[in-house]
Symmetry: C2
Subunit: 420 residues, 2 copies
């Protein structure tokens, strides 16, 4: 078994080769990796069956479902890699160039970070996605997945490394940590000089641990307590459609809404409609109803389990919606400032001044007017792919695509220039 | 006395007002702050005299010189603020906008970070510079200066806050930490949710402490072990001028060169010329000579104190230059990768292929061809100002101007759009 320190050293020595690959080399390697996954599907599925067997009884059915692979999911992973191959190369892009009156040329050019470590949980497709995004952006990846998915991740990495080797490229462009104990995560968080960027992908606990303990540059991703504010000037039919979509189209994801705030002037009209839409209509249609958790003011209008202390600070990731009545746009923005994770928030209103005020006051990665928070996604935003959704303000905010996986350097050309 | 926690709370409540100031409000406030510093010069000088008296005997003469103010330096601080007022507003800039085929409008707009904490040492002008840069970029600043300069910093902040109040703006846009013990620095480093960005400005120890202990987003600035590599195809007269400029024009700053690497094929010719230029000629001209510290191979050609183990990993900030002979461009790049702090490095060569290889292999914030590393500076790079020089790759690299003091958010406008 290789130690994490050894793997980080191998990754470090691949940084220069990775950074100097041409776009053609990278795209050729990506297509070869995609083909390899499909060719090696039986090996990957066999490893995955072992993971699923071992995990049964230890993790929830939802998690088992995330973990389990089939041919179709492997084809989806391969297709994901091919889509990344089709995107523009993010490395070596000239961001700006100026020539000073004295002839000194100063340009700013994109460069890879170096080694990108990704700590994640049980979804095997993160293994191939992250490896492909890092390779395309000229970065070496060090993958550290959850122990439930370790055999699957190893089989996927083995397949991708085989493809790299067949194309004459170093296998150490893609690395997986062999130690799946807590210790290896801590080693990645503190490997100054060896990890140039750490990206945790997973639940709130993992992300908090990384952000609080990392001594290497780290990007906080993911957790989303997203709000929809229904203004007094809202078109209520739009509001109903947006809240239902944001809550129920995929409740387990970070851009799903967890809280609905309603202006006091429309609460008496809107809340009964909301209850009908999310509970009665859904039951009648054979869909899972939403459990509403009204605050004190909302509870005077609609029934439901009263919202508890923590309900406005919880990422339910489930068919549960906390509901509160607020006085106006400012009060909505203040509620959001206190409770949001800075991911995505929306206002539903036909009043442009209310919309402008909300956009100005709400400090989240994505702020919406009359649209569902579910659009916060690299694909939907036109980035073509996504390494995660940053909820911090340093470097990247919102969906992180290839552009967010590179840094830049200044290149200065003179002819013997000295500073006087 | 206010606690640091109280000051951080006051700063937090000023974040929205700061972010929503117009360019006119900010520029008017900045000009008023500049005028106030000149008007209050006597108070500031009196506080500064106290600082200098208390510091004598405790800190070096160089540090005393950095600490001491006079009317001219105060005028310089005021002029610095006025220059910042003249720059473009970095907030609210549309970075990109796209309209999807379904009509959803997605734009990306610059926004302030919120609260920016700056931990620095004894230079009083950092107080006014940092406050002005933060105000212009819509950020609230929390300043935490060294205890040697505390009275000066308080007098400067008092003067600037007076100007804010006279213009009807909250004084809490500019804040200074009253506790100058180690504890307040630790509080700033760990104030998650209250400090949106931490910028340490000062010596290597301060910066390392911040980077290693910060639980808030932090930018590593400053330390520079900068290299000049003299290639075999170098124009030696350019090389001599560049090395002398990079080493001696201001040895105490981070963009000064600390190491000269010389290709083995030109070492026998170049090193005696270098010794003459940096030692003999300078003595003859009445200038401070440079102490050369040759490695084993260089010592076979020129005399000098042999370079010790740590000499290639030391930011001398003095008239000392470590010198090593290397085999070629790749060996130079490898030496730099092992010893550099990622600040600024230069190659001197007339060979475009050698230059291109050096630019590609060397991963520092600024990489030069035939120019002095001394140009790495916000003013020289055309940014108009500078909050420090980032030596990390996350968010900002090299000189940080106003553009690097803002983040962005996505603004999405729909008409009832839901994700299907």
């Amino acid at each position: 078994m290789k130690t994490t320190a050894e793997i980080l050293q191998e990754a470090a020595s691949a940084r220069t080769p990775a950074a100097t690959l041409t776009a053609e080399q990278k795209n050729g390697a990506l297509l070869a990796m995609a083909d390899a996954l499909e060719k090696d599907a039986e090996d990957i599925l066999s490893a995955n069956r072992g993971d699923v067997e071992r995990a049964k009884g230890h993790i929830s059915d939802v998690m088992i479902d995330r973990l389990a692979l089939d041919k179709k999911r492997i084809a989806g992973m391969a297709e994901g890699i091919r889509a990344i191959a089709r995107l523009d190369d993010p490395v070596g892009r000239m961001l700006e160039k100026r020539v000073r009156p004295d002839g000194l040329e100063i340009s700013r050019v994109t460069v890879p970070f170096g080694t990108v470590a990704i700590i994640y949980e049980s979804r095997p497709n993160v293994t191939s996605d992250a490896a492909a995004l890092c390779l395309k952006s000229g970065n070496v990846c060090v993958l550290r997945g959850g122990k439930e998915a370790y055999a699957s991740a190893c089989a996927i990495v083995k397949s991708m490394r085989g493809a790299l080797a067949r194309r004459g490229l170093p296998e150490t462009l893609v690395n997986i940590v062999e130690d799946t104990s807590r210790r290896s995560a801590e080693e990645l968080m503190t490997a100054r000089g060896l990890v140039d960027l750490l990206i945790p992908r997973g639940g709130a606990g993992l992300i908090r641990a990384c952000v609080e303990n990392a001594k290497v540059p780290c990007i906080q991703t993911g957790t989303g307590i997203c709000h929809i504010y229904v203004d007094k000037a809202a078109d209520l039919s739009k509001a109903l459609a947006i809240v239902e979509n944001a809550k129920t189209s995929r409740p387990s994801v970070c851009n799903a809404a967890e809280v609905c705030l309603v202006h006091k002037d429309v609460a008496a009209r809107f809340l009964p409609l909301l209850q009908k839409r999310l509970v009665g209509d859904r039951i009648a249609a054979g869909k899972t109803p939403v459990q509403l958790r009204p605050d004190g003011r909302a509870a005077e209008i609609i029934p439901g389990t009263p919202a508890g202390e923590g309900d406005f600070d919880t990422e339910f990731l489930d068919y549960i919606l906390a509901v509160a009545v607020v006085d106006d746009v400012r009060a909505a923005a203040e509620h959001i400032a206190r409770h949001s994770t800075g991911h995505s928030e929306a206002i539903v209103t036909e009043d442009e001044r209310a919309a402008a005020l909300f956009l100005s006051l709400v400090d989240s990665a994505a702020v919406y007017v009359n649209a569902s928070t579910r659009f916060t996604d690299g694909g939907e935003f036109g980035l073509g792919c996504e390494m995660g959704i940053s909820t911090q303000k340093l470097h990247a905010r919102g969906p992180m695509g290839l552009r967010e996986l590179v840094s830049y350097k200044y290149i200065i050309r003179g002819n013997g220039h000295i500073r006087v």
